[in-house]
């Protein structure tokens, strides 16, 4: 009964919710309840790049994402936060359909990238992925030269024009704040770079084909503070030019780099607000608890 009441009041008055017990909603989610996410009204009137509607995902019999609906605004950095195993990576990988590689995955619902459906029948997945760049948690440079790594997306597209490739290479490396460090060793193996450089190389590769969106899955988790701050600076520079969806475990990082933040819990979207609001005046006590580390 109590739970039903919560559901009813979700959109109505956040103040009322705040008075609720510490992590009542999260417990309820753990018990299998579904809640309407608390979405900040500001987010509903923005230019949308990615629109997720009623997205569910199952690994075999286990459901990993529950009816996620959200929109990612253009030119902004959107952070996904939430405890480990809550489905952040799964959601991110659903955007460029990397989950197709996992045999047991089943989905329902849809996403739209600039109005084009991602999961409709007959979508060319390969063409779709070319419209997005992805940076993985662990840097994954390819076993080839730095140059070839950066222009890989163009190579597979069959681009042969040397001048154009050179230009893209330089532009992407500059974009990833790596140019000065590697401009003299472009033909050397990318595997000889340091971990932080490798990660920035992956960013350069991700932006080489001028994607409509950048997906980053904990891009700094394997890096030291200096390399991390470089990547964060980089994200800051890319803001406005690119739409970025970034998964992070680091609250400070989310607060520093993102415009909007989505808090996920056990496969559900719990709260989605502008970052400033979310960190300073969250709609839900649960979010506050998570952010302040009172919930673990």
């Amino acid at each position: 009964m109590q739970l039903n009441q919560t559901q009813v009041t979700t959109n109505g008055s956040p103040e009322l919710l705040k008075k609720r017990s510490m992590d009542g909603r999260l417990k309820a989610i753990a018990a299998g309840e579904w809640f309407e996410p608390a979405v900040h009204p500001d987010l509903k009137q923005q230019d949308v790049v990615l629109e997720i509607t009623g997205f569910n995902l199952w690994y075999g019999a286990a459901q990993a994402l529950f009816d996620i609906s959200m929109t990612i605004p253009k030119g902004k950095v959107t952070a996904l936060i939430g405890p480990s195993g809550c489905g952040k990576s799964t959601l991110l990988r659903s955007v460029n359909r990397l989950n197709d590689l996992v045999d047991s995955v089943r989905i329902s619902g849809d996403m739209k990238l600039n109005q084009d459906s991602i999961y409709a029948r007959g979508v060319d997945v390969i063409e779709l992925r070319k419209r997005m760049g992805m940076v993985a948690q662990k840097s994954n440079p390819f076993p080839m030269s730095i140059y070839e790594n950066v222009i890989y997306p163009l190579r597979i597209d069959g681009v042969r024009d040397k001048a154009m490739l050179d230009e893209v290479c330089e532009k992407s490396l500059r974009g990833a704040a790596l140019w000065d460090e590697v401009k003299d060793r472009l033909q050397q193996s990318a595997l000889g770079l340091s971990g932080g450089q490798q990660q920035r190389l992956c960013v350069a590769r991700a932006i080489a084909a001028e994607p409509e969106m950048l997906l980053m899955d904990e891009p700094c988790s394997a890096l030291d503070p200096i390399a991390t701050s470089k990547i964060e600076d980089l994200i800051d520079q890319l803001r406005g030019e690119y739409t970025i969806l970034i998964v992070t475990h680091n609250m400070q990082q989310a607060a520093r780099v993102s415009d909007n933040t989505a808090f996920m819990y056990l496969g559900q979207l719990v709260e989605y607000s502008p970052t400033r609001t979310l960190f300073q005046k969250p709609q839900l006590t649960e979010t506050e608890d998570y952010i302040s580390g009172r919930f673990g």
Binding site: R129, N140, M144, P153, L191, A206
Partner: protein
């Protein structure tokens, strides 16, 4: 009742024991048990490694010592026997034995006493020596055993000469005279030796020229004639075919007849030209032969027989008992060079093994070129495309078991499938003019390579599969995320990354294939094949030709040779060579792999 009682008694006892354990701590011993350290197992493992190392090193040392010793020039000993016979030659080995009484009784009466005294002093054991005495055309023997009790005296004659000849093996003797046009131009040993050195090089050069004429020039004519003959035969077959199809007198038959006429005319024309050319070459060869026949060296053997050796027949001559160390090394390396560069002589027991080296290397390379793409593609499908399931597991097990099939079975299969079926079909289609003598329808280097490729396929497949599985999935995902298709990912990311592993598979396959002999005997390795699979006649690469192989050469020398005593040292040298070649091929492949590894795998964190 009883039991419950006993349990009530036992419980406090057990409790107190546990309490005691807890109080004193679980650790009661002060030292770790030997078994817990695992020391005995370390010793066992180390001992096993030492044992295998010792076996490998022992084998390699044996091969190295015997293989390198073969060509060292030994001194020539002259042995006078108590029965008056004289042997001269090189001691090749010796052994101890207890002579039978008959042997002693066969000795001349006056020598018997001394022999018995000698034997008594040695506890009845005699030392015997195997002397390579050569001079086969005179004595019908290459080797002689002599026992110490039957020896009267030994000496190392200063002017003993050793001749290695084109035919009949070695000749040992003392220089008597040097003959030019039958006239004695020199008679003292030193002069004869000087004359020999003066003329030998020229004579041998002429002899090489003559052989080049015989093989290359005449070979060229024969080849052209053979081609023309084949054209005639082909035209005849075409006429027959046309007759069978359209009947006699049909336009097609007429046309074929015309072709036949042209071909026949061509052949006739060529025959005339060839005859003229033959005549010219014959004249040339005769002239060289006559020139060479003028030079002979007259040699007396140890038992006093005289023999004139034509200089042209002498491959190498030296004075074994007067050699300085430098000269010995000179002869040693010269013999190695001959071994590596020349064709075999004397039923393979002398001369070189160049055709076998060439055959082995070419076969191994063709095999590698065939097996790697095959194996890699098969492994790619198995690992990347096929849906995992019982079917794929079965295939994988079958592939692994294929590696356990006896190699001779592959030989039989290769003979039946490649030689007879595929080769036979190719002959029918493209070489019908030559039938019934087969072109591809018999053993040849191509079929041998393919057979061995089949044999080594599992090695490549298994190695490739493993290296494909070792490519991190993050790399693949990175590629997919860039919008690469599966094939692009495999070609640009997975394969380069897996390349070092694939090379490892190739190295293993090469090592396995290059040392294999049994199947080769069925599909094309032969005792003697001076015609190399690659030469100067179009189309330059003759993959249908049978070939010589070092492994088979070893078998042939060791077990099929007429003159097995002389062949055995060559077995060791050939083995050494084979091991060296396999090692070289492997080192080459390993260097290549390391380069690839540096390129694709280095990573630092």
């Amino acid at each position: 009742m009883n039991s419950s009682k006993s349990s009530t008694v036992a419980t406090p006892l057990a409790q107190s024991r546990v309490a005691e354990r807890v109080r004193t701590g679980y650790r009661t011993k002060t030292r770790t048990a030997l078994a817990a350290h695992g020391q005995p197992y370390v010793w066992l493992a180390g001992g096993m490694l030492a044992l295998s190392l010792a076996m490998i090193l022992g084998l390699l040392t044996l091969i190295l010592v015997r293989g390198t010793g073969t060509f060292w020039p030994a001194p020539v000993i002259q042995v006078e026997m108590v029965d008056g016979r004289i042997h001269m030659g090189e001691i090749t080995r010796h052994s101890s034995y207890v002579p039978r009484e008959e042997l002693l009784l066969a000795l001349p009466a006056q020598a018997m006493g001394a022999a018995r005294a000698l034997l008594a002093a040695q506890d009845g054991v005699s030392e015997r020596f195997l002397i390579r005495t050569g001079n086969f055309e005179l004595t019908q023997e290459h080797f002689n055993w002599v026992s110490d009790f039957a020896i009267n005296s030994t000496s190392y004659p200063q002017w003993a000469l050793l001749f290695e000849r084109q035919e009949w093996g070695r000749f040992y003797g003392m220089p008597e005279a040097f003959l030019i046009d039958g006239e004695r131009v020199a008679t003292t040993p030193a002069e004869v030796w000087g004359k020999l050195n003066e003329h030998h090089r020229d004579v041998r050069r002429r002899w090489q020229e003559r052989r080049a004429l015989e093989t290359h020039e005449i070979g060229k004519i024969n080849y052209a004639l053979e081609q023309a003959r084949l054209q005639v035969r082909g035209a005849e077959l075409a006429v027959e075919a046309a007759e069978g199809r359209d009947g006699k007198g049909s336009p097609a038959q007429q046309k074929a007849l015309l072709h036949l006429g042209a071909a026949q005319a061509g052949l006739a024309q060529l025959s005339v030209e060839a005859d003229a050319e033959y005549g010219r070459l014959r004249g040339e060869i005769n002239r060289i032969n006559q020139e060479n026949a003028r030079f002979e060296i007259l040699v007396t053997t140890a038992d006093g027989r005289e023999r004139a050796l034509p200089l042209a027949q002498i491959v190498r001559a030296y004075t074994p008992n007067q050699l300085s160390l430098g000269e010995k090394f000179g002869i040693y390396f010269d013999r190695w060079l001959e071994f590596l560069r020349d064709d075999p002589r004397e039923a393979n027991s002398e001369g070189g093994v160049f055709p076998a080296i060439f055959g082995t290397v070419v076969m191994t390379l063709i095999m590698s070129i065939c097996v790697v793409p095959f194996g890699v593609l098969a492994a790619l499908y198995l690992r990347e495309y096929a849906k995992a399931g019982p079917m794929i597991s079965t295939v994988r097990i079958a592939v692994n078991n294929l590696a356990g099939v006896p190699s001779i079975v592959f030989g039989v299969f290769g003979l039946g499938f490649f030689c007879y079926l595929m080769g036979g079909t190719i002959d029918q289609l493209f070489y019908s003019a030559k039938l019934p003598s087969p072109t591809f329808g018999t053993g040849g280097i191509l079929w041998a390579s393919l057979t061995l490729a089949l044999l080594t396929l599992p090695v490549v497949i298994v190695a490739t599969e493993e290296s494909l599985a070792a490519v991190p999935s993050s790399m693949r995902e990175g590629s997919y995320a860039c919008g690469a298709s599966k094939w692009q990912t495999i070609r640009r990311i997975v394969l380069p990354r897996a390349m070092p592993g694939i090379m490892t598979g190739m190295i293993l396959a090469m090592a396995r294939g290059a040392g294999e002999v049994a199947p080769l005997m069925l599909v094309g390795a032969v005792k003697l094949a001076p015609e190399l699979p690659v030469d100067g006649y179009a189309p330059f690469v003759h993959l249908e030709r049978s070939f010589m192989h070092l492994g088979f050469h070893i078998f042939d020398l060791g077990f099929q040779s007429q003159n097995s005593e002389a062949a055995v040292p060559m077995v060791f040298s050939t083995t050494l060579l084979l091991v060296a070649i396999i090692a070289l091929l492997n080192i080459g492949a390993i260097l290549l792999r390391n380069r690839l590894r540096r390129k694709f795998m280095t990573s630092q964190f």
